[in-house]
């Protein structure tokens, strides 16, 4: 099988550069814990998911670490910012890089991208490190590119994991 780089065929199609720009913006907002701005990046029906099994497929019918619709994302942001959760007050500091982008599907007003994410976390003299494959579906709504689906597949998803006081 030959692997080829997929290029947009129509001038109006979403380019990989556009997709990268949004994904990097999201990464920067999450490291800066600008959660209201992060919430605004999503479509109304968007799903943010972190599976418990690395190869999980039907996430709605599986147990996840997070399977968030808009209401649950808003509640999660409230939890992380209200100051009432002892595990996230203070939150850990994070620095993440997102790279190795590859277009996996493309439609008229949508693009699917898979990439690598590395997150370093620091709190209370302890550093931790996460690695994940992340699958994005981005859609254009009224001319604006939005997050419609984000699945974070941690390489150690099936292991014992300690609490996360931020978003991957």
């Amino acid at each position: 099988m030959t692997t080829t780089l997929e290029k947009p065929t129509a001038a109006s199609a979403i380019s990989l550069a556009d997709a990268c720009e949004l994904i990097w913006l999201e990464a920067d907002l999450l490291d800066g814990r600008d959660y209201p701005a992060w919430l605004a990046l999503w479509t109304e029906g968007g799903i943010y998911a972190i599976p418990t099994e690395p190869g999980a497929t039907d996430l709605a019918a599986s147990l996840n670490y997070a399977y968030d619709d808009a209401a649950m994302r808003a509640m999660r942001v409230e939890r992380l910012t209200a100051g009432h959760a002892i595990s996230s007050t203070p939150a850990a500091a994070t620095v993440r890089t997102v790279s190795r982008f590859r277009v996996t599907a493309r439609e008229a007003d949508a693009i699917e991208v898979r990439c690598a994410e590395h997150v370093s976390e620091y709190k209370f003299e302890r550093a931790r490190f996460w690695a994940a494959d992340v699958e994005y579906r981005l859609v254009r709504v009224d001319g604006v590119l939005k997050l419609d689906r984000k699945v974070v597949r941690l390489i150690n998803a099936g292991d014992a994991l300690a609490g996360l006081s931020y978003l991957l």
Binding site: T52, E53, L63, Y65, R79, L161, A162, G163, L164
Partner: protein, 422 residues
């Protein structure tokens, strides 16, 4: 012949008094070694739920104290609990967490074991003398019994049957399993996490309602008004009851004790959409039963020493070292039940449990603080006296405290003390 592998006996039992325990209970490595032998090798330890290995040949790997075991269903359907250690030179023979296995073959020299643990194959057997007897080198098997699908194992052939050990806890387990909503209860995945602290901190927590409004404020804040009221149970009519043998039950939400009663009670707002969906394919009676069961029960059963039936899930602890404990929160569902109901159960589990849950990370943080704090003023005891002097007596002749009493912790420590002075 067992080789001596524990330090000489000490008066460990003196560390636990009726209403307080010594700080070294959480920190002394020698005590931890003694517990692993005296307690975990001599009582019934939960290893699996039958639905984790439904078919002949299915297995899961688990633990009895620090000892790795394989819980294996053979082709006839019988469950064997086998120490995961080759009888030759000790390598584990199975590294999967779950799966199907016709046999287990040691990766080191190829000794092959059947599903019941018997040794079937030894490569180049002519290197052993003719009197080498394979029947003496099967995987070490544990005594295995189950109660309604909860599988326990023990290394001790002399202790009472599991049914007697569970005793007064059995009717509560029966009530817990009613959350199948008319279907058998099955496991649907799990969240696992570790915290840097002693296993007894977790053992205490399952029977601790006192912490709930403090530690879990962010969870309570995320609920709708009705659910918030349901989860505001301190000062309510709940209770903690000592069930004997170290077990206890904490009833937080009395109206959710028997899920087959009050089936005509109004459906809470948060379950109305589910009820409407189920109504398309189920009778009103079935809808009422499933919806009443979907959120789980209103109580925690704490089973000494390592498992709890906790509202809607199994909570299993594993002591890793004196200052490290692993915890599994196993999600439960309705086996053969409607997918919409099982999805809702998974979403509810995710809401509280797991590294991104609205509850578990805060529990883990509180327990971590306990372990850090207990190194200060080690001469000061840990108090478990809440409710002492205020308790009544159950029909079983055992103490009952209000919902926030530390009655369940005292029950667990009484069993701990009984075992440690044996």
């Amino acid at each position: 012949m067992t080789l001596p592998n524990t330090p000489p006996a000490q008066d460990w039992a003196a560390l636990a008094e009726d209403d307080r325990v010594a700080s070294s209970m959480y920190t002394d490595p020698a005590l931890f070694e003694a517990e692993m032998d005296t307690i975990f090798n001599h009582t019934w330890v939960w290893v699996a739920h039958a639905s984790e290995l439904p078919q002949p040949g299915d297995y899961v790997t688990s633990w009895v104290g620090r000892q790795p075991v394989i819980v294996q269903r053979d082709r006839k359907g019988e469950v064997h609990v086998l120490v995961n250690r080759c009888r030759h030179r000790a390598a584990t023979v199975c590294e999967g967490r779950k799966g199907k296995a016709a046999s287990h073959v040691c990766p080191y020299h190829g000794w092959a074991y059947a599903q019941d643990g018997s040794l079937r194959g030894v490569p180049y057997q002519n290197g052993y003398a003719p009197d080498f007897d394979k029947s003496k080198f099967g995987l070490k098997a544990l005594r295995t019994e189950d109660y309604r699908g909860l599988i326990f194992a023990t290394f001790d052939d002399t202790i009472e049957p599991l049914s007697d050990f569970l005793g007064n806890a059995k009717p509560w387990i029966d009530l817990f399993l009613k959350q199948g909503g008319g279907f058998p209860v099955k496991t649907m995945g799990e969240h696992r996490f570790r915290f840097p602290g002693n296993w007894k901190i977790q053992l205490e927590n399952t029977t601790d309602a006192y912490h709930f409004p403090i530690v879990h404020r962010s969870f309570i804040d995320s609920l709708d008004e009705q659910a918030e009221e349901t989860f505001t149970f301190l000062g309510g009519t709940g209770k903690v009851e000592d069930l004997g043998n170290g077990h206890s039950v904490m009833v937080m939400i009395p109206e959710l004790v028997d899920l087959e009663e009050n089936l005509d009670a109004p459906i809470p707002d948060r379950f109305k959409a589910l009820a409407e969906e189920l109504a398309k394919t189920h009778s009103p009676e079935e809808v009422a039963r499933i919806v009443r069961a979907v959120g789980g029960t209103g109580f925690n059963i704490n089973l000494f020493p390592n498992v709890a039936c906790s509202m809607a899930f199994f909570r299993v602890l594993r002591p890793v070292s004196v200052e490290e404990t692993e915890i599994r929160h196993i999600c439960l569902g309705m086996d053969g039940g409607p997918e919409a109901a099982n999805r809702m159960r998974m979403r509810l589990h995710e809401h509280f449990q797991g590294p991104m849950g609205f509850g578990s990370p805060d529990d883990a943080e509180a327990w971590t603080r306990v372990q850090r704090g207990v190194h200060g003023a080690p001469d000061v005891p840990i108090m478990v006296n809440r409710g002492v002097g205020l308790e009544t007596t159950s029909e079983n002749g055992l103490p009952v405290g209000d919902v926030s009493a530390e009655t369940g912790m005292r029950a667990a420590y009484r069993q701990w003390k009984r075992m440690m002075q044996a």
